[in-house]
């Protein structure tokens, strides 16, 4: 009885003590993760599936005594790789959701809506001209990740993240003349 069950049972008490933290992580990170994945090109349903799978993997990871450091970037990395494995295309995203501009503010005047639509249209063009890596960096940055975490997710040095973010923002600013 002992030989097989012992390695499985040992990490459990440790995981149980972290159960509340895992729930809090789920509440905190589910929406940003879905947002990131949808902007990567997944459909809403696909993104929800990937996020669920990522949290199941997290539970297994913790139950197996895996590292509890940098859980946020760990989750993003798992979700990111899972999305990449689905071979999604960026072409499905950043298609200028101009219809949403109308719904973004109740107080918007028609003139403001027109200006905002034009800005969105130009921004959409600028985003499509960015490289995949630049978009990924901006999306992860928009999700509140530090450069170090972005580097962990994408497997690149922190300094490269800084350079990539800088380059991408400059491109957007120049293209949109904002």
């Amino acid at each position: 009885m002992s030989g097989e069950t012992l390695p499985l049972r040992l990490p459990l008490p440790r995981f149980r003590t972290r159960e509340g933290e895992a729930t809090a992580l789920y509440r905190e990170l589910r929406k940003p993760l879905v947002r990131y994945l949808v902007c990567l090109g997944l459909s809403g349903d696909e993104a929800q599936d990937v996020v669920q799978d990522a949290f199941v993997s997290l539970q297994r990871h913790l139950a197996a005594g895996g590292s509890q450091e940098n859980i946020r970037s760990w989750l993003y990395r798992v979700a990111h790789n899972s999305a990449r494995n689905r071979q999604t295309s960026y072409d499905r995203r950043f298609s200028a959701p101009l219809g949403e501009v109308d719904r973004m503010s109740d107080e918007a005047t028609p003139e403001r809506v027109v200006l905002e639509k034009e800005r969105f249209r130009r921004l959409g063009e600028a985003i499509r001209l960015l490289s995949e890596r630049e978009r990924e960096c901006l999306l992860l940055r928009g999700g509140g990740l530090r450069y170090r975490e972005i580097g962990e997710v994408l497997g690149i040095p922190t300094s490269t993240v800084g350079d990539t973010v800088e380059r991408a923002i400059k491109k957007l600013a120049e293209k949109c003349n904002v």
């Binding site: 947002r35 809403g44 219809g99 949403e100 719904r103 530090r146 800084g162 923002i169």
Partner: protein, 219 residues
């Protein structure tokens, strides 16, 4: 030409060490060019995030087939009419007085009922929903606690059961459906068949064109 714009974005993201961040802050106070750039970077960053939010919103709001909102509106209208009668269950329905014939002012006056209860009291403004109380023949006086049999007998004495619905509620289509979902001029009439004891027995919702269209077809 200023050499610091590259560090501005890292400063914006609080990714610089303290001493370098302090240096950039001092520089920003003096350099108008960098202030302008910083504003542009901030705005580009914010717009990118707003763009992503719009992407998410459009993903959550897939375009529905045209019949889905129509069906939803029909269901909502049916629920609304049903809720109207659920709010006034059998025990609270009283026979209405003859006068006044306005739906909003009709109130029971039976002291045993305590506070007066509205017979028909719609919160919707009259312009949106028109209520016609057709059957007032049996409302000569408040007749509380009558048995169903007694009520039926009196109805037969004064002229048999009404062949038409006791209450008709005409609902303009634009109160229930999105613009363009229903042909112009179409209204809906909720017909409520009252039972002998004043309770709603049947409910029928049927479309009806407004009068001016009918007139147009006359020779």
């Amino acid at each position: 030409m200023c050499d610091y714009p590259g560090r501005l974005i890292a400063w914006l993201d609080k990714e610089l060490p303290e001493d370098e961040a302090a240096f950039i802050e001092r520089h920003l106070q003096a350099c108008v060019e960098c202030q302008t750039r910083l504003l542009a970077y901030e705005q580009a960053s914010r717009t990118f995030d707003a763009y992503c939010d719009a992407e998410i919103a459009s993903e959550r709001r897939p375009s529905l087939p045209r019949w889905i909102p129509v069906m939803s509106a029909s269901a909502a209208a049916a629920v609304a009419v049903a809720a109207l009668f659920l709010l006034f269950p059998r025990g609270r329905v009283v026979w209405p007085p003859i006068d006044p014939p306005t739906a909003h002012s009709s109130r029971a006056t039976d002291p045993r009922e305590g506070a007066a209860h509205p017979v028909v009291a719609l919160e919707t403004p009259p312009s949106a929903v028109r209520v016609e109380q057709v059957d007032r023949r049996n409302a000569a006086a408040p007749l509380p606690r009558r048995s169903a049999g007694a009520a039926r007998a009196q109805v037969q004495q004064v002229g048999a059961l009404p062949a038409r619905p006791a209450i008709e509620i005409t609902i303009p289509s634009d109160a229930m459906f999105p613009p363009g979902a229903v042909p112009e001029g179409m209204s809906f009439v909720a017909q409520v068949i009252l039972g002998a004891d004043g309770s709603a027995e049947r409910l029928r919702l049927q479309p009806q064109f407004v009068t001016w269209e009918r007139r147009a077809t006359r020779p």
